[in-house]
Symmetry: C2
Subunit: 215 residues, 2 copies
DNA sequence: AATTAAAGTGAGTAATCACTCATTTTGAAA
DNA sequence: TTTCAAAATGAGTGATTACTCACTTTAATT
């Protein structure tokens, strides 16, 4: 909760929000994530935030605008850098093998992703129902992020470390694999006994021997 | 729609439902899948089904009971056989390689899965919010299905065709890979230009070279 | 201290929600 | 044809919904 607030501060402080406005956002994220957008009432969010219900509608014209104003900046400001960050290090040949790169990338981002999980959950829950979010997700992920990921893939392909499958397919398979692990681990079956480090290593091994060219 | 109705007939005819009861189920599936459970109103479902709203509550005590009575039998009667069906053929060594088996399995089930997509969508949408469904899913998938899948995996491992990773990890990685493809293809980014057969083949190749032992 | 615009309030609104129930319709057995 | 239980109805229920608005509080500037 304290680290979550740091994340939110980092994200929203440029807009210089008041204390109550921040509380509304925190309460909305918590409620949307727990019960889903449609099942969350504005009165409940107001109560949890400790503000009057009218205060929410002073800053957001509609309930949907509250949802979008939470998820949209996360997509544009946070998720893209999260995925693409430090990719220049790869291009500078800081990692000799794809395996090393994958391990470093996943380890670096895991904690952050866990803290983001409530919002990520909201994002994927609502993308099928909110065309506005779906469009934004498509513009961001399918175009920008995939382009950056593909550059890295092509770099490794030129080094002969990856199979000759088209970069967009390799990107899809690699990214969905990591997301599938996180989804299984933290959303679908969180109560199972997981050996996190071990399963991450197995996931990397699986990805690698799927896309690693055999000598 | 016609094939969907066949599926539903096959699923529910043993209960000898009336015409209106079937229409309620079809309308509920359509509405839940399009708007999500919480955003779907019983009045809308009744209207779409061409029945009075009271008729719904004659057969289902609550709205949630309607949801559960749709998803639960699908999980127990349909999804388990869908995954496990014909596994004896594998154990009878009808498929020499894992690759052949995977291809046959995916091809056989793809059409059926597509027709089931609305209900599968509802299932995964609501599992995070409905403890009743989550428990049932856990009992079914984590215990029954995984056991069957693991048997097949162990069989191939004994033939020396799979790596020595623990069967439950291989099962997780293989199943989530297939589901990830279907989710990307039909839920998340359905408007992209997909070459289905080609991407299926790439997915199989990816899975195989991830779990296939190198000679 | 006075001014003022923004922030915050909470009672109020019409609409919609899931659900009830007294009544009518249906369809198959007697 | 009569009977009758199950099926179906739809007007009606109180609760809750997203949202409004006239008003009060806050806080920074003059």
């Amino acid at each position: 909760m304290t680290e979550e607030e740091l994340m939110l501060q980092q994200l929203f402080d440029e807009d210089k929000l008041t204390d109550k406005q921040k509380k509304i956002i925190v309460a909305a994220i918590e409620t949307f994530s727990e019960k889903g957008y449609a099942a969350s009432s504005t009165s409940e969010i107001a109560k949890k935030a400790g503000v009057a219900e009218g205060t929410i509608f002073r800053h957001y014209k509609t309930k949907k605008e509250l949802l979008v104003s939470i998820v949209a900046p996360l997509m544009t400001k946070f998720i893209a850098p999260l995925v693409v960050k430090d990719f220049n290090k790869v291009l500078d040949r800081e990692f000799e093998t794809v395996e090393e790169f994958l391990r470093a990338t996943i380890e670096n981002r895991r904690d952050l992703l866990l803290r983001m999980l409530p919002v990520v959950k909201i994002m994927f829950q609502e993308i099928p129902f909110q065309p506005e979010l779906r469009e934004q997700f498509f513009d961001l992920v399918a175009k920008n992020i995939f382009n950056s990921v593909e550059k890295v893939i092509i770099g490794y392909q030129e080094k002969g470390l990856l199979v000759d499958m088209p970069p967009e397919s390799i990107a899809r398979l690699t990214i969905t694999n990591i997301l599938s692990f996180l989804f299984s681990r933290y959303v679908l079956l969180p109560h199972l006994d997981w050996d996190d480090e071990l399963e991450i290593e197995r996931t990397i091994q699986f990805i690698m021997h799927g896309i690693g060219k055999k000598e």
